[in-house]
Symmetry: C2
């Protein structure tokens, strides 16, 4: 039901420095910085073979990742995002008490596609984003 | 220089429950549990399209992931592991002051291959394992 790993999101205290490290140590392809005020983040995409890393930094006072950076001032892995064909199938796939953020209502994510987040308490401490393709 | 994502390692408080969730919600293929006392972990592999997740739980009193679980009792993402062709090229690729764990000396990892870990303080808070293939 999962069709692939969309990205690994990593919150960092310094976007340029982080991008430099991924480029310099690993030879990654680095995007320009994108500011997404409607999502409260600035982002640089790091393309590695078979794997997209999204480096995130808070943008604006209401950023949803500011608390994470306050708790993890060195930065850290924030969430995993998987591609799915149909969010509703995933959402209804289980009889278990899985909670989704935003009341289980998909939002439009940073890629302009519908997304849902599973509550990390219900996914063994990992915040998982599902992106509909 | 990175040839791919080897795995995403997630420490969990209950291996069977975590594996059940990945199988039940996402349709993942789940391995049997492997106990690796020489590494201080029990492991279940979660195969998703294009992505291998390794669920880890401490094994024995000297487990290197016990402190992580104490700090994160719900579990959480522990490290990323990338495939590289040659550890020494990666290690010497940068003029930056990147510190490697174990004094920069490769160890034999859980897959029986040489591995090196980059200090998370030098990689924006992310523990990165490099596995030589």
């Amino acid at each position: 039901m999962i069709s692939g790993l969309a990205h690994i999101a990593i919150v960092v205290p310094d976007l340029s420095k982080a991008a430099y490290l991924y480029k310099n140590i690993f030879g990654a392809e680095i995007s320009d910085q994108l500011d997404l005020p409607e999502h409260g983040v600035s982002i640089i995409k790091v393309n590695l073979p078979g794997c997209l890393i999204e480096l995130l930094h808070p943008l604006g006072p209401q950023s949803p990742i500011q608390k994470f950076l306050d708790k993890n001032p060195d930065g850290g892995m924030h969430h995993l995002c998987f591609n799915v064909n149909d969010l509703s199938i995933i959402k209804n796939a289980t009889q278990d008490k899985i909670r989704y953020l935003n009341g289980g209502n998909p939002k439009i994510g940073m890629e302009g596609k519908p997304v849902l987040f599973i509550h990390p308490k219900d996914m063994c401490g990992t915040l998982v984003e599902l992106e509909e393709h």
